[in-house]
């Protein structure tokens, strides 16, 4: 295929728009930083400045870096990317807010305290990370180096001296595993791993 790039007339300044393979540091590079500087000087309000300059910087600098740097840029917020309709994106926000409702901190995950009988200090886990009971229990087992055993509706937790319990919104101590996961994470305020006689007592109810 021929490359016919001949649009006579210097007013188009095609060279300025052509991306060349090569080291930065020529007048191209200067032009780029010149543009960035000009852009930020024209702003009226600082919020708009940040938003627009990050947008145009991502346009200009990312585009230029495209073929020189094969490693992807670290999680930069890009407008409208990935291409999901705003309705769907808003439903992410909704889900996040619902999940965060029970936990501490806005947008920081659903951290709840976990205490274990006999342990000198408490731990914290992010309930959002675990999508199901087995995952949570496994994590607790790892955290405290113990075995919790199998859940059964009739007998609670069989096979060990530990039983995971939680304090719900009403202040009651409940056995972990009775209610659906989504309901659990929306009502769980803190966890407590009961040990010994107390735990076995729970299993015999």
């Amino acid at each position: 295929m021929e490359r016919s790039v001949n649009y006579g007339g210097n007013d188009l300044n095609l060279e300025a728009t052509e991306l060349r393979l090569g080291l930065p540091g020529s007048d191209e590079h200067e032009k780029q930083s010149y543009l960035s500087v000009r852009i930020s000087n024209k702003r009226a309000s600082p919020e708009v400045a940040e938003e627009s300059s990050s947008l145009s910087n991502s346009n200009v600098s990312d585009a230029r870096n495209g073929d020189q740097d094969s490693a992807p840029p670290a999680k930069a917020q890009v407008v409208g990317w990935p291409p999901i309709r705003s309705y769907r994106r808003n439903s992410f926000q909704q889900k996040k807010t619902e999940a965060d409702g029970a936990g501490a901190g806005a947008g920081a995950g659903m951290y709840v305290k976990v205490s274990m009988d006999g342990a000198p200090y408490l731990r914290k886990v992010d309930l959002k990370v675990y999508k199901s009971y087995p995952m949570l229990l496994k994590a607790l087992e790892n955290l405290f180096k113990l075995t919790i055993g199998e859940y059964s509706e009739r007998e609670g937790y069989n096979g060990s001296e530990f039983a995971p319990t939680y304090e719900d919104k009403d202040g009651d101590w409940m056995l972990v595993g009775d209610v659906p996961w989504d309901m659990f994470i929306s009502t769980c305020k803190r966890l407590r791993i009961m040990k010994g006689l107390e735990a076995r007592g729970l299993g015999c109810l």
Binding site: M1, R3, S4, V5, Y7, D11, L12, N13, L14, A16, T17, E18, L19, R20, L21, L35, R38, I39, K42, R43, A44, V48, S52, L55, S56, S58, N59, D62, A63, R64, G66, D67, S70, P72, P73, K75, Q77, V78, V79, G80, W81, P82, P83, I84, R85, S86, Y87, R88, S91, F92, Q93, K95, K96, G107, V129, K131, P180, W181, D182, M183
Partner: protein, 590 residues
């Protein structure tokens, strides 16, 4: 009531008519019109209209449905002049990237000016389907009051209206059969609009309010459903409980398409079995959607209803792989499936194993990819698994976190009939994670193998080679979406020179500049539109294009404060209506 053709019986004594009867088609106009009235495909109709003047006339009088892909490509006056008997209009407005916030608000695409003309010329308008248009409550009221026969309203990705506007429709449109409110930017004030249907209202066939969040009056809804015996589609919103849904299903077991409300409700065993029985009594059920806040306990309720399912939309249901797997075992006839990537590769393996008739798969991200540190989601493994099991797959939209060239090559070998291939590797410019190479060969394989390909969206690290492949092999390609890709102008030039059927080209954040833009400027007249944002075109380049091609509208959207030379957002489209008369100040027509 059909408007008659003028002068159906030409005067034989007139010399003009002698000639025209000699040159006219060998069978009478009435026959031609009757035959043409059976033609529904707009491509066929467009071909027919090009045959000769008689056929053009016969076609324009017999056309009842018109599709306008770009509302600015034609004016309502020109439209109504050519097609006098239209009953149904589909209008699309803003460029597609407006869905992703790349078009500023108040850009245009207002439906009102169209309605004003339709009110006089298409008094018997029955159906209006709008996508990416700005619609006001005033417009909806005007619509409701101006068209006595109005039957069907469908709104997708529209903005500018509130539930008050919907109330106008439900209050005044006595013959309404379809109210389809899809994903829109609507001011959701209240659910009162549902209560505005008259008492004995019976004609509704399609009701979709799944994306409205306000509470509706359940008694009114129940009454509506019990009176409308022809109801085929019912998609309720999140506020409708399972118990309420069960009552609706009992009233309307003939439903073909159901959208559930919220599924987070504890059911007694009796309620559970009642709901299961209500679902299994829906013998015509083909399509299921909704599923917000789904729990494992609920899903088995659906199993008996899944036997005849052809389309399952789980794109708002955060399901795990085993939940999906258990559900799909009951869906052997599934043709279309939309899921969230929470099902992960394992879930997609279940798709491959259980859905041999699958033709379309869409996998959406379950959470905000920017915010979540946990990397779940789907990879090339899931896509491969689907391609091994679903040989009829021809439409895919796949949001993933990593991909390889080898996987894509195998996938298209397994499924060579792709017509729509939309792959979104969510991290911009991400290479093949195994080899570290660009993803050029992946898309090369797609265009070489899938000769029927009509729509392509590319992603990942891509050089000009991808576009060389596209230009060389994608001979049926109509729509191409490109983001963060390419190395130089050459890439875009290859596409413009190589794809003969290209209609829509949308590009963002690529290193394509004036040389590329101007390389095939005549091409744009054979296309619906071109969008370029975050690229390297300048105002001068755009001005040159506008100069060379007076029949194109060359519009630049200026963001405030940016460099005057750069054309940040360029939108080029062909039009017989000339430049826009309603352009806001930030849209410059060159």
């Amino acid at each position: 009531m059909n408007l008659k053709r003028k002068n159906p019986n030409p005067d034989p004594s007139s010399p003009d008519s002698d000639e025209s009867t000699q040159l006219s088609s060998p069978f009478p106009d009435e026959v031609l019109e009757r035959v043409l009235s059976l033609l529904n495909s707009r491509k066929d109709r467009n071909s027919v209209s090009l045959v000769c003047k008689d056929w053009y006339d016969a076609e324009r009088w017999s056309r009842t449905h018109v599709f306008i892909g770009n509302c600015y490509s034609v004016s309502p006056e020109i439209l109504t002049r050519r097609f006098p008997n239209i009953r149904s209009v589909t209008l699309k407005g803003k460029p597609r990237f407006s869905d992703f916030d790349l078009v500023p608000p108040k850009w245009g695409a207002c439906v009102h000016s169209w309605l004003l003309v339709f009110a006089t010329k298409y008094h018997f308008l029955e159906a209006l389907r709008l996508k990416r248009m700005t619609v006001s409550d005033e417009s909806l009221k005007f619509l409701a009051l101006s068209f006595p026969n109005f039957k069907a309203l469908s709104l997708l990705s529209c903005d500018g209206f509130s539930t008050d506007g919907l109330a106008s429709i439900t209050t005044h449109c006595k013959n309404l059969t379809e109210l389809d409110i899809q994903e829109n930017d609507i001011d959701d004030k209240s659910g009162k609009w549902l209560s505005c249907f008259p008492e004995n209202f019976m004609s509704l066939e399609v009701l979709n309010f799944a994306n409205l969040n306000s509470d509706v009056n359940f008694e009114a809804l129940e009454r509506l459903v019990s009176w409308c015996k022809s109801l085929k589609v019912l998609k309720v919103n999140e506020n409708i409980t399972l118990e309420q849904l069960q009552r609706l299903l009992v009233l309307a077991p003939h439903l073909r398409e159901v959208g559930t409300g919220s599924l987070l409700q504890e059911l007694t065993p009796r309620q559970h079995s009642e709901l299961k029985s209500a679902f299994s009594n829906c013998k015509n059920l083909n399509i299921l959607s909704g599923f917000t806040e789904v729990t494992s306990i609920f899903l088995p309720v659906l199993y008996p209803a899944c036997t005849n399912l052809t389309f399952l939309n789980l794109s708002y249901a955060v399901l795990q792989s085993d939940e999906l797997s258990n559900l799909l075992i009951h869906c052997p006839l599934l043709q279309r499936l939309w899921v969230l990537d929470s099902v992960e590769d394992e879930g997609l393996e279940a798709v491959g194993s259980n859905c041999p008739l699958l033709e379309e798969l869409r996998v959406f991200p379950a959470s905000d990819p920017h915010e979540d540190e946990i990397v779940h989601g789907v990879t090339e493994i899931g896509f491969l698994a689907v391609s091994y099991g679903c040989k009829k797959l021809h439409y895919v939209l796949y949001f993933c976190r990593r991909m390889t060239n080898a996987a894509v090559t195998t996938i298209v070998q397994n499924c060579p009939d792709f017509t729509h291939f939309r792959l979104c590797i969510m991290n911009p410019r991400q290479p093949d994670y195994q080899t570290g190479e660009p993803m050029d060969e992946a898309f090369g394989a797609v265009v070489k193998t899938c000769t029927k390909l009509r729509r392509l969206a590319v992603s990942g690290l891509l050089t000009d080679l991808t576009f060389e492949y596209i230009g060389k092999y994608a001979k049926n390609l109509e729509t191409l979406s490109v983001a963060f890709a390419g190395s130089s102008d050459w890439g875009m030039e290859c596409v413009l020179k190589g794809c003969p059927k290209l209609r829509k080209l949308e590009i963002r954040d690529c290193p394509f500049g004036n040389a590329a833009l101007l390389s095939s400027f005549r091409k744009y007249e054979s296309m619906r539109s071109l969008w370029m944002s975050g690229c390297k075109v300048t105002m001068n380049g755009c001005r040159l294009l506008a100069q060379e091609m007076p029949r194109l509208n060359v519009e630049v959207i200026k963001e405030c404060g940016n460099d005057d030379c750069q054309a940040d957002k360029l939108y080029v489209y062909r039009s017989v209506a000339g430049p826009r008369k309603d352009a806001p100040p930030f849209v410059l027509t060159l």
